[in-house]
Amino acid sequence: MIGVYLLGALAIAIILFISRNKILVYSLAGLFLVLQSAFAIYASFHYGSTESIYFTYDSLGVILLITMSIVAIPALIHSYIYIENHQENAQARAIYLTSMVLLIMAISAGYLSNHIAVTWIFTEITTLSASALIYHHRNKLALEGTWKYVFICAISITFIFIGILFLSLSLQHAGSDDLSFRNLLARRAELNPVWLRMAFLFIFTGFTAKLGLVPMFTAGIDAKDKAPAPAGALLATVLMNLGFVGIFRFYIVIANTPLLHWAQLVVGTAAFLSIFVSTVYMLKVKNVKRMLAYSGIEHMGIVMLGVAAGGVGYYAAVLHIILHAFVKSSLFFQFNQLYRVFQDKSIYHIGNYFKYNATGAMVLLFGFISATAMPPSGLFVSEFLIFKSIFDAGQIVLLIVVLLLLTLIIFAFGKNIFKVLFIPAVGFDDSNVEKISPWESLSQFLFLAFAVYLGLNPPAIFVQLLKDSVSLLPI
């Protein structure tokens, strides 16, 4: 089935790329959504099996694949609204939709791959398709964002490759050349610790470009800012999850070796620095879209702190990235409507949004409550569990500092959002503001409600999948 899925998605992408017929293009995009959903359903019914040697439908892969397939549906619907509103020409539309399809395909395959080199290849493909999306507007700023993204991602992909080379050196001591995660885990006792350390450092650094952690987070911010908002929603959620998968699967291997403590230190330091950096930027950022992107850096920092703390933190980390995917993508979908009203991203030129689009303003308000993890947001549950795991690990000082930083983030986030919602922008001419249909906010409401549901009252099968995905880690 994975072969059928990859070939089907590739065929759809090729036809999308050459076709200039509007109806054909949109129906193909719809067909791709059907294919994607069918693949997700197939994967959940074949839970645990391996296909084409390199792809396993394991719990982490399946749960993220389902998340991805759900997020992809409104992403393409909002892309349709976006393209029609901007009256893009046929070529721009073709390139945009082709890249969306390729991006979704590469991320899905990357989730499921059980071999580190295969994950790496699909990460490379996401760089290619994401760069086409970032360059969508074909202007100077978009070019700058694309160039930075491509360059930093090229370097981090090279880093991952160096990490894989070190890993192969480490594995040679075990007398094996199979780099699948399962084989690595089985031979964990024979891996050479020196090379394993180097491999982890390089692979971790490389994947931070996708995950959005210190040190490689910068390129992702520009990318989410310059890409059209529906594409930015994918870059800010499911693509970050791909970075998480890359790190997490390798972390499972290293956590079962004596290097666990060292790896916790590395991951924890990078995570704490990410929260610190995002706090600094959140306090001074004036561009709403970039503010959302920095909030993503903060959330990934919290997730990786949970991974570093261990215990219940593993479970909470996986829960957190899934809930974050729903919350953050709905905020990004909403941003597009905000832009259509004000034609600006700067906080100085946006204000009193309740007057122009009450439904959309409600989404922003609820999204703010969800993204800052205030109850009843689902993220509150996962964040609370992560704090509990840090407390259990005995890192009280770290916990206090992180909580202080999060308070600052909530202050900065709230200040900007309430300005957008209530305080009128100076000199804004509202004589010909576009009326936006409330139906366009439906998917955002559904996502936010779904995140609350998953957080507060998770179905038993969901909890079981989460537990399975962290079952290989030591308690």
Binding site: A117, I121, L143, V150, F161, L165, S168, L169, Q172
Partner: protein, 210 residues
């Protein structure tokens, strides 16, 4: 013989550190490709012939012909001035490059591993760090691209060290090489040169938070 070639490779890094003109950089990149060609020929004696020919073709055709020709074409097309414009004087560059090499030698001495020829490790790691240094200290965007090509060459050397046991990794490295180079050079050729006339990193600072 492999050791002589790899040491020559390190010497090219020193030459690059003090070179003034962009054309010199391009020539050094081509020379590195030729050196890698011979290293591949001598090192990968155990893998099958077809794969060996493929890898050698990549080094000679791609690394030492296509990329340098393409880069010099870019120089002419975009009227880029011939100076490299480093932020630091060449003498400091030379000292820092020496430091990089010495430190990697010290690191490699702490590692005890019979499976790995240490000189591969030293050359690869110092090339990697030198590439990053080159990216950080030159003003023009095209020198960033060249710095990236240097990093790629370093990674290629490292993949050769394990090439006999895992030829798949060498092939993956080649894939990375071609993929990333085409992506980066494609953007450079088609877009950056057209939009930003005198290409320097100072112009790439318009994406701001406010």
């Amino acid at each position: 013989m492999i050791h002589v070639l790899l040491i020559t490779f390190i010497i090219t890094l020193f030459y690059m550190a003090i070179a003034n003109r962009l054309m010199t950089y391009i020539k050094v990149l081509a020379l590195q490709g030729v050196i890698l060609f011979f290293v591949v020929f001598l090192q990968l004696s155990e893998i099958n012939t077809l794969n060996l020919v493929l890898i050698m073709l990549e080094t000679i055709v791609f690394k030492s012909l296509a990329v340098p020709l393409f880069l010099s074409h870019l120089l002419k097309r975009n009227n880029i001035t011939r100076e490299a414009e480093p932020f630091l004087p060449n003498f400091v560059s030379l000292v820092i490059t020496t430091f990089i090499v010495v430190i990697t030698i010290l690191i490699s001495n702490t590692i005890k591993d019979d499976n790995l020829d240490k000189i591969f490790f030293v050359v690869a790691l110092s090339t990697l760090f030198f590439g990053l240094y080159l990216i950080a200290t030159r003003r023009k965007i095209i020198t960033h691209v060249m710095g990236y090509m240097v990093i790629e060459n370093g990674v290629f050397v490292l993949s050769l060290a394990v090439g006999n046991e895992m030829p798949m990794l060498v092939n993956l490295g080649i894939m990375l090489d071609i993929f990333a180079s085409v992506l980066i050079l494609g953007i450079f050729l088609n877009k950056i040169g057209d939009v930003f006339k005198n290409v320097s990193v100072d112009q790439l600072s318009n994406l701001k938070d406010y």
